[in-house]
Symmetry: C2
Subunit: 329 residues, 2 copies
């Protein structure tokens, strides 16, 4: 399902990150970086909520707007019941829609906002996505204090929040089109192999997007997945080639960009709903505004992993949503 848009723009963004991202190669591009994991709160879950609030405030401050100027707040995160988003929304007093497609939630939000902006149903929308390493580890694996070893194929959940102000005003980055993905389940049951779980979903959505828009892959200066990690990235390149006959030449993955994989202990790279939009709204948008990149296909990939279902020996389904981004001349 591909939508095309004529009048949808991301005018402004806000990005806030934690200590690992601060030590990563993209730190200069983020709006705010923290040295610890609590940000004045007492728990990791509340800390994640705080990250969203900060990213919203930063975005609004840059715009010279306040929350009453915003029609709609769309947000998603990894925590059970989307608590990071819910408690942030609770402080905002803006009509709110919670979305969940795991780490594809950021682009799910952009797609919904873009559809409503394009139709004139909404004028000013904030789309948020967040994740918190310690909160995610505690919920999905073990508390970090436990110090359990993990295989190299594991990804390392990003701590941060990314917010986009989506509107009809022609400025910043244009959302030119968007593709809603299908759930793809290739039978992988290993919860430490998220790259393998998600790569086929990314391939399916990229292929569908190209088919629907009648484009060749080279139409894009960059295809950017987030977050397959260094392992999943290789799987995607192989899989696109062997299954679809498509060569991913101008391709990167946000998991491998937000951290220094050589020198930081982050396994195969970053993950979490925040990772793809953090990299995109900071470094990628900077490159686009400098005209080093003109057309970018952002493909957010989500492993719909649940500890309950993994314990029941079910395989892990995945989904990917894509948006085509263009710099406004």
């Amino acid at each position: 399902m591909t939508f095309t848009y004529k009048n949808v723009y991301i005018n402004e963004t806000g990005t806030v990150v934690g200590p690992y991202e601060k030590k990563g190669p993209l730190n200069n591009y983020f709006d705010r970086s923290h040295d610890e994991f609590y940000f004045g709160t007492k728990t990791w879950e509340q800390a994640e909520s705080k990250l969203i609030e900060e990213a919203v405030d930063i975005t609004l401050n840059k715009l010279g707007k306040n929350r009453f100027d915003i029609d709609l707040f769309i947000s998603g995160d990894l925590l059970n019941q989307l608590v990071a988003s819910n408690y942030a929304a609770s402080t905002l007093n803006i009509p709110y829609l919670g979305v969940y497609n795991a780490c594809a939630s950021s682009v799910e939000g952009l797609l919904l906002a873009a559809n409503m902006i394009e139709a004139g149903q909404v004028k000013h929308c904030l789309c948020a996505a967040s994740s918190h390493n310690n909160a995610a580890e505690k919920q999905f694996r073990y508390p970090v204090e436990y110090g359990g070893p993990k295989p190299k194929t594991t990804t390392f959940t990003t701590t941060g929040a990314a917010v986009a102000y989506v509107t009809y005003n022609k400025k910043g980055i244009r959302i030119e089109s968007g593709t809603v993905g299908k759930v793809v389940d290739m039978g992988v049951k290993d919860a430490y192999q998220m790259g393998a779980v998600m790569a086929p979903a990314a391939a399916d959505t990229i292929f569908k997007h190209l088919q629907d828009t009648k484009r060749e892959i080279d139409y894009y200066d960059l295809v950017l997945t987030g977050d397959l990690g260094s392992v999943g990235k290789k799987i995607l390149v192989d899989y696109m080639n062997t299954e679809y006959g498509i060569q991913l030449k101008h391709y990167d993955d946000t998991a491998a960009m937000i951290f220094d994989l050589e020198n930081q202990e982050v396994y195969s790279g970053g993950s979490g709903p925040a990772c793809a939009p953090l990299v995109t709204y900071s470094y990628i948008f900077h490159q686009m505004k400098k005209h080093k990149l003109k057309r970018v296909l952002l493909v957010a990939t989500g492993a719909l992993m649940s500890t309950t279902m993994v314990n029941q020996k079910l395989s892990i389904p995945a989904i990917a949503h894509a948006v085509s981004l263009e710099v406004v001349e």
Copy 2:
């Protein structure tokens, strides 16, 4: 945020329920009722997913359509990571968007579908919502085998799935308008008082809807909340009166309709994302088609409750979304 629609209709629905709902007063209106909780699966979570699949199949069969005729599947449930929706979507091979606003997810889905249908962005959409009593109890409270006693203010999660086919074809029930709610947190910390948590959110959304549409409450033959329960229902009537000066005369709540509160051990009534759409798509639509009801304001209320945040002594935020439903003459 209120949207108005000119060309959005629910042409068909599918409803499947479990044993308690089967013994309830509305059983004759449901498409399928089960006598036990597993439906051929081995776990309650997989059983909930199965309910969605069955409700989708029933809807498509009634329409004489198959899954390839559907553009988009929007679904939400109570389980962590929305596993019931995800695994059902995995069998469908339809572009999928997961939504979560707890028990307001059903109307969240309808609103998103309605916006896209109205704008011509999507033509054929299936919106689902599900819940499963045993799966929800296990996740949010105690496994049912534990047999823990509960206060009378508790609600009893509905077992079932409800699916609506939303399209532009003028037939069935019209979605005339819809209001996206804000998160409201009145400081209630008691996880056994969901009615008290949600009633102020329902009031806020009803008031905003009337304000945005410049309507009096008597415009509607019925205001239908779901699910405040018998306790929350009284709170809403009082609160609307004292806070907004609005008398809720033609008013009911789906929690009190799906079960026989006198003779079934269900505390203050049904709950779960499935309850409101199950009652609406079966009994209420039947009444509308018989012209006993012409205009219904369906207000789905969600307690954004998380055991993690309740354990951290935070209060419980709530949200409500509304759609105005009219029978097609």
